[in-house]
Symmetry: C2
Subunit: 333 residues, 2 copies
Amino acid sequence: MTIVDVARHAGVSTTAASKVLRNAYGASPAMREKVQRAIEELGYRPYAAARGLRGQTYTIGVMLPDIRNPFFPEILDGLTDTLRDTDYHVLLGPSCDNEKDEGKLTDAMVDRGMDGLVLIAPVMSQVRLERLANTVPTVVVGRHTRSACYDTVTDDDTTGAALVVDHLADLGHRHIAHIEHHETDPARLAEMPNAVRADGYRKAMQARGLPPDIVSTTYTQEGGYLGTRQILARPNRPTAIFAGADIVAMGALTALSEAGLSVPGDISLAGYDNTSFAALGPISLTSVDQAGHHIGTAAARLLLERIADRSRPTAQIKLSPTLVPRRTTASPR
Amino acid sequence: MTIVDVARHAGVSTTAASKVLRNAYGASPAMREKVQRAIEELGYRPYAAARGLRGQTYTIGVMLPDIRNPFFPEILDGLTDTLRDTDYHVLLGPSCDNEKDEGKLTDAMVDRGMDGLVLIAPVMSQVRLERLANTVPTVVVGRHTRSACYDTVTDDDTTGAALVVDHLADLGHRHIAHIEHHETDPARLAEMPNAVRADGYRKAMQARGLPPDIVSTTYTQEGGYLGTRQILARPNRPTAIFAGADIVAMGALTALSEAGLSVPGDISLAGYDNTSFAALGPISLTSVDQAGHHIGTAAARLLLERIADRSRPTAQIKLSPTLVPRRTTASPR
DNA sequence: GTGAAAGCGCTAACAT
DNA sequence: ATGTTAGCGCTTTCAC
């Protein structure tokens, strides 16, 4: 079942069939009609690999750091909703949280001739990112950089962190600890959402005249659990914990409950991302909403624009977070 | 940067280069050496679309019903761990929970020349499934069927449901309600994991001489919330709820907490899947472990076998679940 | 063991 | 407006 069969069945040339397939210029309505019917009757489907060899594959690749983090599906929904009415299909890479896996995955996506890439909070160096973006249209989500090669969509993590610190400080907390995703690479320190969040925390604490107190782990449930245990093992315990992501707060909750501490009675806890689990009745976690759906929508639009015009100047879209106070934060006793 | 460049750089024919690329028979060690070096020096990467046109794309597609359900990442991990050391890459479709979206996605995967498909709890008809499996090697996860066209990996949902019912009945519960994922299609009624789970519940209740009580919603957090509200609105309330999936239990917890009911004081609650959220300290949900990682591993192995030999008889792998009792279940007052 | 060449299904010049 | 045809990068007979 190839385009040749369609053309023959419709009694036209393959060029004509191809044009109809791609809605390209130069096909009369009558011809469109004939070809469409032939396609229907034969149940023909164009073979993407063959198209890829000549140009587009109509495939957009998405890379995300952790499929377990319930925040990422929000972004994905925004992406797929926007791409639904286009000819493009979205394919997701399995989660990869280190530079090596990221390289392998993006290579694999390039090898498969993908028309565009959406990279969510990638850790690879900017040099690599730009090399990649020069190969295939790319939108980077989460990294606070400006590049001439790729578009970016970020949420204002500095403000988001301040939202939490101010909320807790207003409640009367003086000792607020922060659990961050460990970051050593000096370049990423200024770019990655987790690092910017930690920096926002530091600045907001300073602005309040409070000493910062940071524990480094990872943005996972396990990381939250271990980080909290570390905090609780110390001589003087904070009255509030600001977890850099909801998933981290989930792990923190386990550690706190194991330690026999009540939330917010003994200790307040805030997360980040406002995932659906934060809204769960028995959890009711104070969090920061960064509108994942909008992030996804914006990324998809930027990518489509760039695919259409690879030379248009790059754009940086910055969204603003909002605080969602719930029952895990209260004044200290 | 094509295979021709590599061949020229190595001073051999493209055939030779191709053979080395694919570890095919008929290339001397010396030639392998030369070609490998050329590949390294040129940083050559084979273009998957072009390979696809002649044969394999080294890509395996995975379809899952809901990326928000924290159980599926377990299966995925099993899949990717097993596939890591092969030449295959895994690409995920965005979640799709209805027959139409499933069809679009599987079509897209076939169009992209994928070498194999893993379908997790698909809802499409068996006819369609078999047509698909005749096109491309396919492993179906979760559906309790035997087909001559595709391999299956399932967990014994009947036993799993009985595990929960027996646990609750042993604790002294007489009125145990079940929240299921709505299923109307008569064909799917015997095949889908949710339907088999509901049937297992029914049978286990009957074996205990207890009247079944089923509420139909969906396997989502929202579904659990709405289903539980429905249960609570009725005149006589059950003493225990068996949610068909942990994610459903999460929604149930919200509804119960909103209603001012304590768990397990006022009502016991059990889930299914033993996701990482079930183990969370403040939740500590009794659940059924169906070893998602093993499911993924088994699926990957079956798929590789079938890709290697498309005519080998189909296999049906059935795994056994275990109960993980936690703090949400206790004897009724 | 090695190489020349045909062709996978499609698109895009180019010719009509 | 429509058709002819040369490739895209790779694999795979089939000679040697």
